[in-house]
Subunit: 159 residues, 2 copies
């Protein structure tokens, strides 16, 4: 049991399930779920935190799956574009999506102590921002919501 989304969680089937779901989705949609792409997704699923592209690249390199930055970035682009992973802008890092296939606007809770990342939902159509945008005539296409703070595990064990 590893802490996931700040809760204890059966992680053992988590990676396999995540990969399987994405594999199935790709098959349905005619997307190529190539070895590098699959491996990068596995790497991200393995950690419930965000990882930098070069950190992922180091792992790929050790496994002989690619040694140059574009290899990692291209795989990450694929995963992000299709909603299997997200980029955390605040950290210039990436994390596996916990709701692949579902259409959603993710919001992230980032612990500044342990760097774990939990994915929550935001509702960009509601609230003050939506109203402001509507009033101004601004058409929102995409919203980044990233909350930084202290996760429950780190609150309990302060430095």
């Amino acid at each position: 049991m590893d802490p996931i989304g700040f809760e204890q969680h059966d992680h053992s089937t988590c990676i396999a399930d995540g990969v399987a779901r994405v594999a199935e989705y790709c098959k349905r949609e005619g997307l190529q779920f190539t070895p590098v792409r699959k491996r990068v997704l596995e790497i991200l699923l393995h950690q419930h935190r965000s990882m930098g592209a070069y950190e992922i690249l180091d792992i790929l390199r050790a496994e002989g799956l690619g040694s140059q930055p574009p290899v990692a970035y291209r795989a990450l682009d694929f995963l992000v574009k299709n909603g299997f992973a997200h980029k955390i802008e605040r950290l210039n890092a990436f994390t596996a999506c916990t709701h692949p296939g579902e259409n959603h606007t993710p919001a992230f809770l980032i612990c500044r102590k342990c760097n774990s990342v939990a994915e929550a939902f935001s509702e960009p159509d509601k609230g003050r921002l939506a109203k402001t945008a509507h009033d101004l005539g601004f058409r929102i296409e995409r919203v980044v919501v990233e909350a930084e703070g202290i996760c429950p595990n780190c609150t309990e064990a302060p430095a």
Copy 2:
């Protein structure tokens, strides 16, 4: 009259007023509003869009105010830390705060066509994200909200 926050607006006094307000605030708080810091704020206020650190540095360099990256980054750090400017994470760029001195959680509306940036308010204490964080026991300290889309000026004149 320049478009500001997507609206026509008297920009002429805007820079002077912004600088004056910050200068006064700094005096009150005992902060050093040095020439470089003041100039960087002016540069940011001059544009109602975000600017990269190196873009700002180029201007400083041309004016003999500093030629190395740390000069720009240190001034920007000062402005951001004190709430006179904000970093747009999505763009790795900076923009002058339109409500300096007021305690607020900014939300940004970023036009992907003309790169203008409008600062709005978000209400991180309300809405679904706040509820999720509370339920999980996550203590939010800071929230980044950045909406990307098309501003009214660019909607009217599509490419």
